[in-house]
Amino acid sequence: MTRDVDRQESVAPVLAVRNLDKAFGGVRAISDVSFEVTDSQVTALIGPNGAGKTTVFNLITNIFPCDAGKINFLGQNLTRLSAVRIAELGLIRTFQSARVFPGMTVLENVLVGRHRLMKNHGLTQMLWLPASGVEEHRLRARAEEALDLVGLSRFRNAHATDLPMGAQKLLEVVRALMAGPRLLCLDEPAAGLNDAETQELAALLRAIRALGIPLLVVEHNMSLVMNVADRIVVLDAGAVIASGSPKEIQDNDRVIEAYLGQDADAVA
């Protein structure tokens, strides 16, 4: 066991966030946040409402620029890259409210996911070159397979926004998977799911880990997190208050305090 941990420590992390800072106006939303995501592991980012979890996500994918700090992804500093460049490096994220593309079928939504890895672009498609046809054909087969994996293939020609919330959430994860992520970041994948759907999501997350894709998950649902995560990072009021295995986090006093609160005068 110890040897195992040692080996992990020596391997460079997939994502290393160092001393991240962000203020909105006068409010310090994120202060001095550091954590790592290790290969082939599920890392969960948890914390009470307003702790800054989604903000960390948005800083990593540069939807807002951070004020200070370093975000290192596979040896590349992300802080100055555009959202598109970050995706091109293989860091793929989903959104809190499932953002499937309206006006497209379920299958097309999944196909968009593959976009960054397509070899044939506009011109070859315009000329109907065989290569682009072959690629398109393969892509469709692959997308149908992926939909099959989560049981959505029956709805492949349905309008994506007609799916119930749970299915849209799964669709978004599948779409992100199609992008061939080297790190998959999921923002509250279980929000809006019922218990049965959450269990299926847990199975999907384990399957993704089994594929060797590291995951960073922001999540509220504790049972899901405790079930799936290998490592947990706890945020409160924009700062990391604890990190460790699910067991360690469950026993951590500061985490319990952050979630359950404590008498005002007991807080030193």
């Binding site: 091109e88 006006g103 044939n120 315009m126 119930p164």
Partner: protein, 636 residues
């Protein structure tokens, strides 16, 4: 010096009118988040009704004008209730913008039918004798304009900031959903703001009428000037509207006096582009910024129009055969020419559909690229005897260059601002077409363009040209279908509905927008060249802003995002006036009306409706149009 002061007084007077119209824009924008481009139409309508009341029916001016304002507001409320209010509830903001373009077109069409195309002028309210202050002569009407502007501004300020109704309006501006929950009747507030804006526009119209001449289509000019003023000042700020209006009035008057009247609109547009790029939110920042409306995301086009593939296998060859047979069936040269024109416009529509229907970028300036293409190839053919094909290529090169410059300038702009920038671009090209007489022949047009020819073979007859245009369209359709059914089309559609999510998947949003814009410019330019070769003549109004708006109408009526759909819009609008000659005068009115109606009742256009009909009744067993039997439990 006195001349300068004189010009400045004139500028302030004109600027007050712009400011009034701009106030209407700000008001509707703040309450609903949509831009109402019909504004200027109501101004002209009020002035023309006032003309009928006072000059034709002989009412005294001071009775006729309020009556005209009242009548216009009534019309405005009816139109608003029937079109704008339902549109706000179900359409995206850019669709609402285009719907109001339809309203503007309708009002202009109505004015054309009722008052004809001659210009009108009203006498000043208090005599022709100007008031002399030292060396400066001020026409009395100027005092009416300034007075009316002051009254409207104070009244509006009082209404919005001091009354209960105003509080309701402000609540809608802050957050419509929350306002609704608080018991504010949002549709009523929408209608109220629309009516109030109409009132302001109508007052501006009657008060300005004596200082200028009005025609049925002066409305778009008012709309555009007022809108430019609103954007320069800051679209969601009332003081901004006033500052912007007066600034614009002064700038254009001074430019006209000291530079050239031909380029005064060009200067206004350059000012606009500079402001848009330098400060997209305008000179004066509003304290209340309108929130990103959640509905805006929900209301983006959500219908799926797909021709079932089994139907397509029969329909495509059938359509091709029919198209080839057309010149044998249609023997009337006039009608065949109409069909050729529809086909040429369809070239531009294909490009517009890539840009608007797929990538979701509204362009109100496509005719600008048509003008560049048409004038470039025409000029080269006449003066340097350059072959049409080379001329077309030169036109395309110039158009794409302009498109790239324009998109670099407008890259940061989205939605409504992009629509505005393209509109400004179209107007700019228009003013060059009128102003650069040596190259374009000015308002009377470029004469003597040779017919289209390839390697010495001339396509001079409508029939020959028909096959050329058909060939181009078939090639384009094949190429675009290839790209749009695969990755390219998916990337565009993803950008259309959710740029952030598209970027997060590695779809290069900027690049695809540029490519879509370049494609639309290329095809518009090609269409413009073919248009010039077909008519052997090109004048500014053939490729002016009304053409841009007509293209949008054709696309929407035919069906956005369907590629082939636009042909039905193009044929309908081009051929109806040709076939029913005596009704040609109704063309503008009908175009506007159809545009409004299809936004409200046929959002997927004629083509979409036809496909839907096929799918439902055509015996196709598979459902292609968004089936919804989605159980909550997944089957495994």
């Amino acid at each position: 010096m006195s001349e300068f002061v004189q010009i400045c007084v004139g500028g302030v007077v004109v600027g007050s009118i712009y400011a009034l119209i701009a106030l209407g824009f700000s008001l509707v924008y703040r309450v609903t988040g949509a831009i109402n481009l019909s504004q200027g139409g109501f101004s002209v309508l009020a002035a023309l009704i006032g003309y009928t009341f006072s000059q034709t029916w002989g009412w005294p001016l001071l009775a006729a004008m309020p009556a005209a304002v009242f009548a216009t507001v009534l019309i405005g409320i009816v139109l608003g209730y029937g079109t704008f209010v339902p549109a706000i509830e179900r359409l995206s903001n850019s669709s609402v913008l285009m719907l109001t373009v339809g309203l503007l077109t309708m009002i202009e069409g109505f004015a054309l039918v009722t008052w004809g195309s001659q210009p009108f002028a009203l006498p000043p309210f208090s005599g022709e004798q100007p008031i002399v202050i030292g060396p400066i002569r001020v026409p009395t009407q100027a005092f009416w304009v300034l007075g009316a502007a002051a009254v409207v501004i104070v009244g509006l300020w009082y209404l919005v900031s001091r009354t209960r109704l105003g509080r309701g309006l402000r609540a809608c501006a802050e957050n419509p959903s929350a306002a609704n929950l608080m018991g504010i009747d949002v549709p009523r507030m929408t209608l109220f703001s629309f009516g109030l804006a109409t009132l302001i526009a109508a007052i501006a119209g009657v008060i300005v009428a004596p200082t200028t001449t009005l025609q049925f289509n002066t409305g778009s000019l008012f709309t555009i000037s007022g809108f430019i003023a609103a954007v320069i000042g800051g679209i969601s700020s009332f003081p901004g509207a006033i500052v912007g209006g007066i600034f614009l009035g002064l700038a254009t008057q001074l430019a006209t006096a000291y530079l050239s009247s031909l380029f005064s609109s060009a200067i206004a547009l350059v000012v606009l582009l500079v402001v848009l790029v330098w400060r997209p939110t305008g000179l004066i920042q509003s304290k209340v910024t309108r929130r990103q409306d959640i509905r805006a995301e929900v209301r983006v086009s959500t219908h799926l129009v797909r021709m079932p593939s089994n139907v397509a296998w029969i329909a495509v060859p059938l359509a091709l055969l029919l198209a080839i047979a057309v010149p044998f069936v249609v023997t009337d040269n006039g009608i065949l020419s109409g069909i050729v024109i529809a086909g040429i416009l369809f070239i531009a529509l294909l490009g517009l559909d890539v840009l608007m229907g797929y990538a979701g970028q509204v362009s109100l300036g496509q005719a600008g690229f048509m003008a560049i293409g048409g004038y470039t190839s025409g000029y080269l053919a006449i003066n340097y005897d350059i072959s049409p094909v080379l001329g077309i290529i030169a036109g395309i090169a110039l158009s794409v260059a302009c498109a790239l410059v324009l998109s670099v300038v407008t890259l940061r702009l989205r939605g409504l601002y992009l629509a505005l920038a393209t509109l400004a671009f179209g107007l700019l090209i228009d003013s060059f077409a009128v102003g650069l007489i040596d190259i374009t022949g000015g308002p009377s047009g470029l004469v003597g363009i040779p017919p289209f020819s390839v390697a010495g073979f001339e396509f001079a007859t409508p029939r020959a040209m028909y096959y050329v245009v058909l060939g181009i369209n078939v090639l384009l359709l094949v190429a675009l279908t290839g790209a749009l059914r695969s990755g390219f089309g998916r990337a565009l559609k993803a950008i259309r509905t959710d740029q952030m999510a598209a970027a997060a998947l590695g779809v290069d949003v900027v690049r695809y927008k540029l490519v879509a814009f370049a494609i639309s410019a290329t095809l518009a330019s090609l269409a413009g060249s073919m248009y010039a070769f077909f008519f052997n003549f090109l004048s500014p109004e053939m490729v002016g802003t009304s053409r841009s708006l007509e293209l949008v109408a054709m696309l929407v009526i035919g069906g956005e995002g369907t590629l082939v759909g636009a042909i039905s819009g193009s044929v309908l609008i081009t051929l109806l006036p040709t076939i029913f000659q005596p009704f040609a005068i109704y063309k503008t009115l009908v175009t506007g009306g159809l545009l409004v109606l299809s936004f409200l009742y046929l959002p997927q256009g004629l083509y979409g409706a036809a496909v839907q009909f096929f799918v439902r009744y055509g015996g196709s067993r598979r459902k292609f149009l968004a089936p919804n039997p989605v159980p909550s439990k997944r089957a495994r």
